[in-house]
Symmetry: C4
Subunit: 224 residues, 4 copies
């Protein structure tokens, strides 16, 4: 049957539909949207008594709010990275579809880890679980990057080695920093929290600096 | 490498995909949809005892219901404004993508603020936190408006100064009114709540009036 | 400015983008998806003790499960109706956009009403609140139907009077039945619950019967 | 009226819009996205006391985490299967639209069953309810498969008998395994849990093996 040209054409069309990234993106965007909106459920309405001041109320929810903002910005960074990666991808095979689902798995645990961090923001255990999760997310990002960029037929155009290394670095370095934050959580919980809160600032700084040099180094800037 | 025309063409295509607003809209629509649906979680099932009347049950959930309706209509207004703005936008650069995420951040806190307002609808602190959030949202709307309309290459067509000022006004004025509601919350909590509930009515009134004059003043009506 | 043909063309393009139903559908589909998924949160994990049988556990969650299934099927019917209506609609003006939001408002209260019904399935008040909500949803469906079908420029093709009446009936009748269920809730709560549970069955029966007569009566079958 | 060719053309266009799968996919992807993100709400933040170790904290949430991972992977498998099926489907008639909604119904109960399993992971009742749900989902998958593949006008191209049987097997076998897990839950709860956790592993194994033989057996591999 596969020898007939007409059938070949039809099989090719079916494969194109099976490899269409549209629903992978729909699922992923849905998960990201729900994720950043669900984070708010971890901020509990404080008990207000007569004469409670605004500052007191804000002080009470401060740890939850800090965990919310850190997790929100992190999820935003992950979504931007996902969008940048899939701008390179033309087709999704079964492997990529499943790697994407396995990437969403630790991501979906973020509201839990944020709730834990919001409630026990000085407890090493909470900080370590938060770090573990971010490391798992970073590992999955690296795996997806290597898987996709290693398969030119999945891409709009093949990347050269320099572009692949640049993209790998962008996905790998945050993971290493989170690993550090995980490792120091027991001895220096304050430093660990500072790393979680500080990395997004570094990220914003780096993309601002990178944008300045965009004209000179377009390939790299594409993946930040 | 950038000197070769073929590569230029490919780079241009990649940039088009990186600048495609589709996923920014998918994420935003997802967030708005979840937001208005999550608001219901702040209305708790009341304790009903035998012989409880409908009026009593409704009276018990009235403050939550009022906070729900106000927040729902506000979120609806923000979504309509977001849709109107992005009808002008052809491309999203990294700055716009991130400004949009930073706009979604205070928006995602709305269910928390609505829960607070539903539970303590006469407490100045609850009213002030609600107002603070609406002011933050308004600030982000103004920033996005200025950012996007200042960059003609992001738009389908450049706006003239009058259109930019009109759009700015539409985004700025509600923020000023919410700032007022925030400021009077301590001395006149009733007035503050009245402003939050009343502004949507004013909005509906204004778009009805504006529609009447649409033929004469099309550019302005576009952005309401 | 509006006199120049080129500007006219650009204004027309802007209006087309402003009237594009795509994001209205994205928001609505998002709300429906979240709605039917959130309903599960009203089914609480029962307390199981050693030796608890499957039947006992199911009996404990039975009222919640009944409220879940009724509300799920109702939401499914509303979504199918929404999809059928918007298959007729080519453009959405500001009025239609806002009527759609105001239709989503009572819809988003469904998880609350389902939770109430699941907890107090024999209390007239719970049954009346559930009925009130369904009546409000039906009213909004009728309003949207009349608004859209009255404006031929919003439609792919104008409907004739017979089609408009048929569609009106499909949207109006359920509302009248729910009004009845609301009115009898105090004197006959059992009947009221029976109506909520039975209407979807009638609906399935009617579309099966209608499908049989589809060939003879295509216009009517389109709107069921 | 139906005799005039022009009307026929318009009716055909309306039917195409009514049969367009786009919104069915939007609703389904939304439900899957929310489902896998909502699962996290069943993992409750543990009580941490000073000096609580990471291992103790993880041990406390272990049953919830196991239920989360199993349910997440299952939902992922269902979504991949849904995407594969709808890659074959060109048009959705009213029957398919409703079967899809009735398939989403047991799927939306998954967070409840996962919460039950996470809290009572050795209770036969929890294991049986979980199994019942998976059997219901499998039944609906088989029904949809038979319904769609039996109607060539709904497909991009008709399937031959071998392809239909292969797809049926892929949808049927997991259901039979879950039925087994349901039946043994009372006498051997450990085995039951093992089956729920083990099937995804078998699935991954099987698609890896199938991929190896893809070239020789393309039709079968399409539906795994």
């Amino acid at each position: 049957m596969a020898e007939e040209p007409e059938v070949d054409e039809r099989t090719r069309e079916l494969l194109e539909r099976l490899h269409d990234p549209a629903r992978v993106l729909a699922l992923s965007d849905g998960v990201f949207a729900i994720l950043i909106t669900l984070l708010v459920l971890e901020i509990h309405v404080p008990e207000l008594t007569q004469g409670h001041s605004l500052n007191q109320a804000l002080a009470e929810i401060r740890p939850s709010l800090v965990a919310f903002v850190i997790s929100f910005i992190l999820a935003g960074m992950y979504w931007v990275g996902h969008r940048d990666l899939f701008a390179l991808i033309r087709r999704t095979d079964r492997g990529l579809v499943w790697l994407n689902i396995l990437y969403l798995l630790p991501l979906c645990l973020l509201p839990f880890a944020a709730g834990l961090l919001g409630r026990y923001d000085t407890e090493p255990v909470a900080l370590r679980i938060y770090g573990l999760l971010l490391v798992a997310i970073a590992v999955m990002r690296v795996v997806i990057w290597l898987y996709a960029t290693n398969r030119p037929h999945l891409l709009w155009r093949p990347l050269d080695d320099r572009q692949r290394r640049a993209g790998l670095a962008v996905n790998l370095y945050p993971g290493l920093v989170y690993l550090l934050a995980f490792l120091v959580a027991r001895s220096a919980p304050g430093l660990s929290l500072l790393i979680y809160a500080g990395l997004p600032l570094l990220y914003f700084l780096s993309i601002t600096v990178l944008r300045g040099s965009r004209k000179r180094n377009l390939e790299y800037a594409d993946f930040t």
